[in-house]
């Protein structure tokens, strides 16, 4: 059964050319409360589920507000949200889940948002403000016109704690991040959510600046894999270090799917012969099509060549 709750789409508003906000209200009764940083599974099309963070103030449990960016590689998820949902549509969703909860720390909280990654951090800012916590939200976005939830931010009680960074790309991005993350103190925390290149940049700057791994809290969408057509040679690949999940359809290789999602893996022969793309595997019943790895390495299943090899089980977790 797709999602335990049914809601009605009360309002759809385009925040930017690519991002739309959705206000969902209960079809009956009230909505379960949620903590800042929570997300819900949404089922825009039967059999396809997507995770979206809840943007609104956790204290306001009359509705759930989502921000959805149109994704080029979507398996119908985001484009369905953008396409066939209208105001008044009924929608099945799951109860809120939270892998990105606020911790009670006495030090500073630095919220780093990259593009659509701002959605969970808005509800966090609201919660931190409510408890008079010392925090700053740094909103990195390509341009002023691509800033989402402008009214919500400017109209909030914590608008003075928000810093805007427009159109930054390496190396300038790294300089700005070094400035923000200078001099970490034991009780300080960083909450980080955004596209993988942004998250990689932040994590490397943070490590160099002396932040320990557990001081950097990442948003992981780790819902179970989306449902796939039975029998199809399809599976989901999860990049453990990036918290990214993508569906690998039967007609595409893992490398192609990763490239389309902006994850660059060095390749050379792209025929499973040269070993350039050998990648460590955490989980998955592998289907080795390469000529590079030895029989023992195939049996061990700790390495694979994503240019030609695939996965017989439905979820493949790569350690990248």
């Amino acid at each position: 059964m797709d999602g335990e709750l049914e809601v009605i789409v009360r309002q759809i508003q385009s925040e930017t050319s690519e991002i739309r906000s959705f206000v969902l209200e209960p079809a009956s009764g009230s909505l379960p409360p949620f903590q800042a940083g929570a997300h819900i599974d949404v089922f825009p099309i039967p059999g396809i589920s997507r995770q979206y963070s809840l943007v609104n103030d956790p204290a306001d449990c009359s509705r759930y507000v989502l921000g959805v960016k149109r994704e080029p590689n979507s398996r119908g998820g985001s484009s369905a949200m953008h396409g066939n949902l209208q105001e008044g549509s009924r929608l099945r969703i799951s109860r809120p889940k939270n892998n990105f909860a606020l911790r009670s720390n006495r030090g500073r909280s630095i919220l780093l948002a990259g593009g659509i990654g701002v959605t969970p951090l808005l509800s966090m800012a609201q919660a931190l403000c409510a408890r008079d916590a010392d925090f700053q939200l740094h909103y990195f976005v390509r341009s002023n016109s691509e800033m989402a939830f402008r009214d919500l931010i400017i109209g909030s009680a914590w608008s003075s704690c928000v810093n805007y960074h427009f159109g930054l790309v390496p190396p300038v991005l790294n300089d700005v991040l070094e400035e923000i993350l200078r001099g970490p103190v034991a009780d300080d925390l960083v909450y980080l959510c955004g596209p993988s290149p942004f998250m990689d940049a932040v994590r490397s700057v943070a490590t160099n600046a002396g932040w320990t791994a557990d001081q950097v809290v990442l948003e992981h969408f780790s819902a179970e894999p989306p449902k796939l057509e039975a029998g199809a040679d399809e599976f989901v690949v999860r990049l453990a270090r990036r918290g990214v999940e993508l569906v690998v359809p039967s007609e595409k290789t893992i490398i192609e799917v990763l490239r389309e999602a902006g994850v660059e893996i060095q390749t050379s022969c792209e025929q499973g012969v040269c070993g350039t793309c050998v990648t460590p595997v955490l989980e998955g019943d592998l289907l080795h099509n390469d000529l590079y790895l030895s029989d023992d390495e195939h049996e061990e299943g700790r390495l694979m060549t994503p240019c030609v090899s695939r996965c017989k089980s439905k979820l493949l977790i790569l350690d990248i």
């Binding site: 050379s268 025929q271 012969v273």
Partner: protein, 291 residues
């Protein structure tokens, strides 16, 4: 030229002359791994090899073995013995040597050329391959750990005139065996008796990092061809390859698979390069040059 200090290379047996090259009582000055040496023939089957200083004075003597129509020596303490090739001991075999041919490239380019199937129909057109039948069918490579050798098995290729004795084209079966970084051989089905294989070997004398001599001893089942015909066939094949070998850039072997892009037909070359990388050999390797 300065002698290499790479012990992995120095600890290998390499050829330094062929049987019959040196008249009794005379000697041959040559070089291995940049080290000048003198090969003296004391008697019919008695050879001495010594290092020569730059001034030409005789230094320490080196171990010597004569086998497979070649004189072998080594600069180090070999952990790998000369390979056992039983075909050479079979009484009805024609044991033929073709002298040696000089090539200006690193020894590994010769080994890879010998292992390569995809060039047969271009470089050896109408002899070992036909451009209309260029596909290289899948084959299997394996690293045989106990012998520490690289093998390629189930290799087959369409050949118009597979050997001196063959009269028409056929699918020829090959098995390749890389016995050391500087030696390789192939087992090729005998037309007249498919249960047996001809053994064709290449032993390389690395003179410098981009200069070597190739020796090609063979043990064949062929009572049709003359020695001259067999030698000429093998030399023609090698001289066709030599133009290619001397015009590959770089002359040193790159191990990084993104520098020279392989395809599936290059599986044995990839296994060979991976093996060279694992043994950390330095001599003649692009990435190991003094940075």
């Amino acid at each position: 030229m300065v002698a290499t200090t790479d012990t992995v290379a120095r600890n290998e047996w390499v050829p330094c002359g062929w049987l019959g090259q040196i008249a009794i009582g005379t000697n041959l000055d040559t070089m291995i791994f940049g080290q000048p040496i003198r090969v003296a023939r004391i008697a019919q089957d008695d050879y001495h090899v010594v290092e020569l200083s730059d001034a030409g004075t005789e230094g320490r003597s080196l171990p010597v073995q004569t086998r497979y129509n070649c004189i072998f020596t080594t600069l180090g303490e070999p952990t790998r013995a000369l390979p056992e090739i039983s075909e050479f001991d079979e009484p009805d075999r024609r044991i033929v040597g073709c002298g040696s041919v000089g090539v200006s490239t690193c020894p590994y380019r010769l080994i890879e050329n010998f292992l390569d199937l995809a060039h047969l129909c271009f470089i050896h057109k109408d002899i070992l391959g036909d451009p209309e039948k260029s596909e290289v069918l899948a084959y299997k490579t394996e690293h045989r750990k106990e012998a520490d050798e690289i093998w390629a098995v189930d290799c087959s290729f369409y050949q118009p005139a597979a050997s001196k004795a063959s009269t028409s084209g056929q699918m020829t079966k090959y098995i390749y065996r890389v016995m050391s970084p500087f030696s390789v051989m192939l087992y090729k089905t005998v037309n007249s008796d498919p249960s047996r294989n001809d053994a064709i070997c290449v032993f390389i004398q690395p003179i410098g990092e981009t200069q070597c001599l190739a020796y090609m001893p063979m043990a064949l089942v062929d009572d049709v061809s003359t020695d001259g015909d067999i030698i000429e066939f093998q030399q023609s094949i090698f001289l066709q390859d030599r133009v290619i070998l001397e015009n590959q850039r770089p002359a040193l072997l790159p191990l990084d698979p993104t520098y020279e892009l392989p395809t599936r037909a290059d599986a044995s070359s990839i296994a060979y390069r991976r093996w060279l990388k694992a043994m950390n050999i330095q001599f003649g390797i692009l990435e190991k040059q003094a940075a």
